[in-house]
């Protein structure tokens, strides 16, 4: 199952500060619920895990994330993440493009485009559920991103694996997804 998700949000921080944060996968990872970066393979490649629970289905993806494009001049980053469920229930991959634009207000617009492919048991839940789960995860991500950015001092990167992992709250996630099924289509956009 392939999904395309586009999100745009604004943060009150200057573009260079946002870029420093966005271009460091270890920092960005701390904003994604359920994600843990466990190892750095090379300059652009990281190993990690993400746990997603939807209803009765728990999926533990183990995989790699790689920066495949880093355009500092235009403030664009492209990350490719791939993972396989540890219990052989399927795989997922995500190609995310992040793009920053300086705003007149001094803040920054963050625009992300993601293509997510899910194969296996989780994908059987259908795009209705998966799209909602993704929406909720991106919502959490946005909140975390803004919050972390505020805290970020701009110092050296946090040590690998040290970031505290906030697991996805399974029940609330399932509930949010269910609620989403009854919401109007307009809300599932950006």
């Amino acid at each position: 199952m392939a999904l395309k998700i586009e999100k745009t949000f604004e943060v009150p921080e200057p573009i260079e500060k946002v870029w420093a944060f966005l271009s460091d996968p270890r920092k960005v990872a701390t904003c994604v619920p359920g994600v843990q970066i466990t190892d750095q393979v090379d300059e652009k490649t990281y190993k990690g895990a993400i746990k997603v629970k939807v209803g009765p289905s728990v999926t533990d993806y183990n995989g790699e994330a790689q920066i495949i494009r880093l355009d500092t001049e235009n403030h664009e980053i492209e990350i490719l993440g791939k993972g396989q469920d540890v219990r052989g229930r399927g795989s997922a991959s995500m190609k995310m493009t992040g793009k920053l634009r300086a705003l007149e207000s001094g803040g920054t617009e963050v625009k992300s485009e993601s293509e997510i492919t899910v194969v296996g048991i989780l994908a059987q839940m259908g795009s209705r559920v998966i799209a909602e789960v993704s929406n909720i995860m991106f919502g959490e991500f946005t909140k975390n991103f803004q919050a972390r950015l505020k805290e970020a001092s701009g110092d050296a990167a946090a040590p690998v694996g040290a970031a505290e992992v906030a697991p996805i709250k399974a029940t609330s996630l399932a509930w949010e997804a269910t609620k989403g099924l009854f919401r109007g289509k307009s809300e599932s956009g950006s």
Partner: protein, 784 residues
Amino acid sequence: MIHKTSPEIGGMGHSIKRKEDLRFIQGKGNYVDDVHLPGMVYGQLVRSPYAHARLKSINTEKAKAVPGVLAVITGEDLAKANLAWMPTLSYDKQMVLATGKVLFQSQEVAFVVAEDRYAAADAAELVEVEYEELPVLVDPHKALDADAPLLREDREQKNNHIFHWEVGDRKATEQVFQKAPVKASVNAFFPRCHPAPLETCGCVADFSRATGRLTVYMTSQAPHAHRTVFALVGGIPENNIRVISPDIGGGFGNKVPVYPGYVCAIVASLTLGVPVKWIETRSENLQSTGFARDYHMTAEIAADRDGKMQALRVKTLADHGAFNAAAQPTKFPAGLFSICTGSYEYAQAFCEVDGVYTNKAPGGIAYRCSFRVTEAAYLIERVVDVLALELKMDPAELRRRNFIPAEKFPYKSSLGWTYDSGNYEAAMNLALEKIGYQQLRKEQAEKRKKGELMGIGISSFTEIVGAGPAHTFDILGIKMFDSCEIRIHPTGKAMARMGTKSQGQGHETTYAQIVAQELGIPAADVTIEEGDTDTAPYGLGTYASRSTPTSGAATAIAARKIRDKAKKIAAYLLECNENDLEWEPGKFFVKGAPSKAKTIQDIAFAAYTNIPPGLEAGLEAVDYYDPPNLTFPFGTYVCVVDIDKGTGEVKVRRFVAVDDCGNIINPMIVEGQIHGGLTEGLAIAFMQQIDYDESGNIQGGSFQDYLLPTAVETPHWETDKTCTPSPHHPFGAKGVGESPNVGSPAAFVNAVVDALSHLGVKHIDMPITPWKVWKVLQEKGVAA
């Protein structure tokens, strides 16, 4: 007409209550999962999450370490015993457990055996399988493209094509089309659906090392055929295999094929020497066992301006999934799809079908259908309505002008079938009268003026059931006869066994009524037993509405053999000549002296106590019945729908079903069959589809997405009948279990399209969900 016996005898035509229901309604049925044997252990399948992937490695160490786990079997293990693949019923082969690669999501990869179900399920999660994903083929229209991934590397033929099959005169049909003044066509997809029987598939395999005998309790619609398959595949002498089909909670074709789970349980029992139980979960049943339909069809009709049909041309692409596991007669790769000429007369017809592989679960089975008859009936009844639109003619009138006339039966169709009997117009007239057709058309015209959406759909279907005559029909070489053995006990009670197997059809009642009809022994005194291959005579099982046409006929013939012997005994007892005797149900009497009589009970007692000289003791007979032809039940269904312009919801306001299945054994059971089949037809038309996304993920793999109709969704069914007996069946019956599922989808869809036809809508594919209708309403600018 059939002579009606007294209510005490309860022969044909009596609505006696179903004998089997007494135990079912008390929860005292005995299903496979009720079988508990000493020392029994449990199996659990590990399944593939991928639709197409290479198997790189399987690590079973962690699974084996789970307490209680006895064995983990993989495809490589089976390969060592030459059991990694098994034959399908369509001369293809299928993986039991995957070796090399997997070809559909949910495919069987490993089998874990443990002392209890929980340990087996836990251990199955710990089997580590490393896959390398391969390009997935989901769209059958792309299966034959040059760049399509090759699915079946095991075959010599290096493409995804399974078969091409055609029937009729292509050239002559083409010529008619070239000259025809009016043409109509429709592209209709009959979606992949699933019978979803209440009880999923399962078995208990019990191999005894002491006796060398293998007993398999299994959900089988064809226990004898399965025994033979196990003997041929497993190399076990057939006399050492006993298949027992206990009570079965619905089959609908889903329990005809042999599934990997059965084979794995048998292998495990042979290996471990203990009974092994394997029972599917609901999702496993929906995702991996025999689906139905998945036919991408095109039909064209040529006609003159008066609506007289001249020719029919049909082209179909059949999606068979990863293995061709269609359960159907050998010579018919597209089943009996060539019944697609339906109830109408044409000068010419041509039909062709191509089967292809895709990365989907294998099949397809005849879901409450005699081998693709449902697809055929749907297609012809749909395209006839499109022709009516083209001609701006009433669809009932168009049908009337083209029906095969009653006096032309037996009728040879342009695609080669000899229809045994029919009176299509009578059935349609009754249905139209019952529903008040003319009045409804007036109401529709008025509603249209007000912008309201109401539709009337007609389906005047013809079926072809009761496979079948030995000269044409076999499955894996075994001819499609069926059988009955009747034994009359000394006290005049009877026991009869058949080669068929009820899955809820009510055989214990209806077969007893046939014996009652023929011998006058009360149906209550006749015990019917099916499903144990050690005791029942050989037969091909129950599907394709074949039980009454084959085993039902065998029952009548066996009973008549008994009656012939009974007559000899009666003549001896009455000290008269056989020719002086007359029969009335239950007794022989001397012509002109009705008081000089011997009842069948007297005669049965004498058969064991006072045997006429020169006659064998006992009173029993067996018959293997090879039907001279198939039977052709028919009917007309009329459906009225109202469409909610705000939500797109279709409400079935009325549904009249007039069926003609020839002479009826038990009217109540026939009506029950029709109610059930219509309800399943409703679900197919409006609710159900086993769909796949572009990666081959199943989108209908649980009851969350694959919807079953409940009392809330089901409308009130109005049923009636006409009676046109089969001229070749011993008591003129035809079979009815499947008619409502065959005939109803077209009635539902025709009604919806009829409601929207004035907006330019010609066709909507099933399932017609509110979302689909809502989109059409938006498109046409009429949504509320």
